[in-house]
């Protein structure tokens, strides 16, 4: 997320038309059907693709999220996609689901669907896929078999039996890619299978693969083919260098790009105001995670003091150019999940800076400000904040936090290792404080559960990815259990309200500002993109949001 100072100032004053002409000539000078020239010819959709450094690796195995190419999401349809904004469902291979009781989930499978090789798709394929995940735990990246105990088909229904009530887990099952039994049953090791001739039920099939770009073609056998607008989807590889990617986006090579751009109005929108639009909704919450196994962070008063000492508006401004607003400390992402917000909490749960209240809270924790130092039983309060060095927005936030906490007498130092070491330190619980992400699934239960459920809180030195701050609160566990088991909206709301209030009062994580989702769209060839007025999913092109968006596009 490096700024490009020259890009910002020059693009702002330069004549947009001249620059665009320059961009067009750059495209036409390339020999074989490059993205820019073909997309004007017909229904071609160009999406800024995967990072290829130096070249793309052909991998369409839908169970390898860290290496599969993004086009895989358009080839393998799941039962349903779930909006990362608000958890709403869009049906694909299923027509709907219901819980017959909190541990029995029944999906009704769509009829008349065929695989792209012509074979009929049946509920047996769904059962086969889930059993494949059981047989090869390396494929089970979402931990399906830690929650379910069995899967079976009868007629058009597929029934999942849960080990314990977990209603929100329906979303994880819904988004499991379904693979054909007649092909995958004979694959020797599906975990390392590159799947270069993918056969799926999605709206697209693989047309061609080259080391720097791959192309998908519309699947004529897709069950809803008449609703699919783009006949071809092209994914040119991204560069390693973020500056190079930003120039390409600015040049207008893509119908859909996902890139952070500074001063997006000048660098993107103004270059073609009639068609270029951006939508930067919040996609998660960035917070200060305190190690709750250490004093004084295990003291709720101390945590409240830290929360009150911070000016979240300034932090958000410094971190993400003011694109994002201060976060609600309830754990609810606003405005995405507005319907879940407990209206009884003051100011939507956003805590504003209040130094005297902060000092009062510190006093309750046994710390007083003397001579510019916050003194406690063991001398001045200190804090080391760990964060990965490549996340520049987090670094800017951490610098501002250390300034603001310094003003209430806490001595803050920053520790900025590589991501791999950051994750090791945080997972082992040997950190002091760390910047981290909270939520982003679009489903409050999943967000709260992964961050707060004490079942994840391993002892220090035993690594855990989730709840690495090691929060342990029986009340929270109980509320989570209730939320997991409730199927009625009213009961779900009640349990969520309780979790929000606990987040707000107990401050297990000092939530700061929303992490952005950087969607850049052109309406030149297609319309129907997600936007603030039609926020049906996040503008991320590297998960099942891709499928949701592409199937909703219409020709401009």
């Amino acid at each position: 997320m490096k700024n490009l100072p020259n890009l910002r100032s020059v693009a702002a004053c330069a004549c947009a038309a001249a620059l665009l002409a320059a961009g067009a000539s750059a495209c036409s000078s390339s020999t074989a059907g490059s993205s820019g020239s073909t997309s004007s010819a017909g229904g071609t959709l160009t999406i800024q693709g995967d990072t290829g450094n130096p070249t793309l690796v052909e991998n369409f195995n839908p169970f390898t999220p860290s290496t599969e190419l993004h086009g895989t999401y358009l080839i393998y349809a799941p039962l349903e996609t779930v909006s990362t904004i608000n958890g709403s469902y869009t049906p694909f291979l299923a027509t709907g689901y219901k819980f017959t009781n909190p541990t029995t989930l029944v999906y009704t499978i769509r009829q008349g669907v065929r695989w792209s090789d012509g074979t009929a798709f049946t509920p047996a394929d769904v059962v086969f896929t889930f059993n494949l995940l059981k047989k090869y735990p390396a494929l089970d990246t979402n931990g399906v078999w830690s929650q379910i105990s069995g899967v079976s088909a009868s007629g058009n229904n597929v029934t999942f039996t849960f080990k314990a009530p977990d209603v929100p887990f329906a979303a994880t099952i819904a988004q499991t890619p379904i693979v054909p039994e007649h092909i995958w049953s004979s694959i020797a090791n599906p975990a390392t299978y590159a799947n270069t001739h993918p056969v799926g039920t999605g709206p697209y099939t693989l047309k061609s693969f080259a080391p720097t770009q791959y192309t998908l073609a519309k699947n004529p056998l897709y069950w809803d083919a008449s609703k699919i607008a783009p006949t071809t989807v092209v994914f040119p590889a991204q560069a390693t260098s973020q500056s190079t990617n930003q120039l390409e986006v600015s040049e207008g090579q893509f119908d859909w790009a996902y890139t952070y751009l500074p001063d997006v109005k000048a660098t993107y929108v103004d270059r073609d105001p009639a068609t270029n639009q951006y939508w930067f909704p919040p996609g998660g919450t960035i917070g200060l995670f305190l190690n709750l196994t250490q004093a004084p962070y295990n003291n709720v008063n101390f945590r409240q003091g830290i929360s009150l000492a911070l000016n979240r508006a300034t932090i958000a401004q410094k971190a993400v150019n003011g694109y994002m607003s201060p976060a609600s400390t309830t754990g609810i992402i606003l405005p995405n999940e507005q319907k879940w917000l407990d209206p009884n909490l003051p100011g939507q749960g956003v805590v504003t800076q209040n130094r005297s209240a902060a000092l009062a809270a510190f006093t309750r924790a046994g710390y007083t400000l003397r001579g510019g130092k916050l003194m406690g039983p063991n001398g001045q309060a200190t804090m080391t904040i760990t964060l990965p060095n490549s996340f520049t927005d987090w670094a800017a936030a951490a610098t501002e936090i250390s300034t603001e906490l310094g003003q209430v007498g806490i001595k803050v130092s920053l520790d900025e290792p590589q991501y791999a070491q950051y994750s090791q330190t945080t997972q082992a619980g040997t950190f002091n404080a760390a910047i981290g992400g909270f939520g982003g699934t679009g489903i409050p239960y999943n967000d709260f559960d992964l961050a707060l459920n004490s079942s994840y809180a391993a002892p220090v030195h035993t690594p855990t990815v989730n709840n690495f701050e090691r929060y342990d609160n029986a009340g929270v566990n109980q509320a989570l259990g209730k939320l997991a088991a409730s199927t009625s909206p009213a009961a779900q709301q009640q349990a969520t309200d309780k979790l929000e209030t606990m987040m707000y009062n107990q401050v297990p994580i000092v939530l700061l500002y929303y992490g952005g989702s950087w969607g850049l769209f052109s309406t030149k060839h297609f319309t129907g993109w997600p936007s603030a007025s039609d926020p049906y999913t996040l503008p991320t092109n590297y998960n099942y949001s891709l499928l949701t968006v592409v199937t909703r596009l219409v020709k401009a």
Partner: protein, 329 residues
């Protein structure tokens, strides 16, 4: 003969030390390949779970054996020229991966190194011969100016002005997207078009070293008695400059040229990164960010081997070039 024998023994010991360092260094990096793979997802804002970590661990088959067993395997693999499968490119061998990237780097960096050597040395001869005059100062000042550019910064400047603003050159890559490398004329032309900017960046920033080296050697040599003697004999000044002074001043530059050629395969991480060039510099960057030990080891091995071979060859060449080496042995 004893000289050569000593050099060969030294070569083998250095090789073993380098190979062992190549094994140790990547493993000194904190964190594991699994952490690195999950980090990529996390930086995209994907929520990570314990289940996901366990699955990725199983997929990568991260090593669980002891470091000594790994070292023994590693030595055996080198002896049999097998480097295993990289974590980043699971469906091809490490040798294939490097084999695809190496020609690009050798062509780009090799050509620019030769170009910079020839042009820089000639400019140095010119500046040294005209020392203290206008020609000397303009060459020296110019070389200082361009030599002071950090390559990545010059790269970004050229990219912004010549590609983005004026569209004269493609923005990134070694060839147009969607094309598979082949030996057709149109592809070679396309590749050439893509290599102009990275080549220019590398050539401009490395030129000054050759200029200064050659100019200073020239000035030293011009003070020698045999040059004065040649001048006193009334030889043409061009003959004196090129055949008497430059020929002898060239020796140290040839040594560093040999070493530079050895370093060519190391590529240029920053410049290749900016232009997204499909060479080994970019590959090394990828291997490091992914904690891809097999790929990193093989790359470092290729780098050190070519460097060692270059030094070895220069050493042997010296036996021919410089009679003093022969006589002391």
């Amino acid at each position: 003969m004893r000289y050569i024998l000593r050099k060969v023994t030294l070569f083998i010991i250095t090789l073993w030390a380098a190979i062992t360092l190549n094994f140790i260094l990547p493993r000194l990096m904190p964190g594991s390949p699994v952490d690195a793979a999950l980090g990529k997802l996390a930086s995209a804002g994907v929520p990570i779970t314990n289940a996901e970590k366990a699955a990725v661990e199983a997929q990568l088959g991260a090593p669980h054996t002891s470091i000594f067993v790994q070292y023994a395997d590693y030595l055996r693999n080198i002896a049999t020229l097998r480097f295993g499968t990289s974590f980043s490119f699971p469906n091809q061998t490490v040798a294939e991966t490097i084999g695809k990237a190496l020609p690009w780097t050798v062509a780009l960096v090799g050509t620019t190194t030769v170009f910079a050597f020839v042009v820089g040395t000639l400019l140095g001869v010119y500046a040294g011969w005209h020392r203290g005059k206008f020609g000397d100062s303009s060459v020296t000042v110019g070389a200082t100016f361009f030599g002071a550019f950090p390559p990545f910064w010059l790269g970004l400047l050229l990219l912004y002005w010549l590609s983005f603003k004026y569209g004269w050159f493609p923005i990134k890559g070694g060839y147009s997207p969607g094309v598979t490398p082949n030996w057709s004329l149109s592809f070679l032309g396309d590749a050439l078009d893509h290599s102009v900017l990275p080549g220019l960046t590398l050539a401009i920033t490395t030129l000054s070293g050759w200029v200064f080296g050659m100019r200073n050697n020239m000035i030293n040599t011009l003070g020698e008695d045999y040059v004065t003697f040649a001048e006193a004999n009334g030889l043409r000044s061009r003959t004196v400059a090129l055949l008497y002074a430059a020929r002898n001043a060239l020796l140290p530059n040839v040594t560093s040229f040999g070493l530079m050629l050895g370093a060519v395969v190391g590529g240029s991480v920053l410049v290749e990164g900016i232009y997204s060039y499909p060479g080994v510099g970019n590959l090394l960057y990828l291997a490091v960010t992914n904690h891809d030990y097999p790929l990193m080891q093989a790359l470092l091995l290729v780098f050190t081997l070519s460097m060692l071979v270059a030094i070895f060859v220069v050493d042997l060449l010296y036996v021919r070039l410089d009679p003093r080496v022969r006589s002391t042995s």
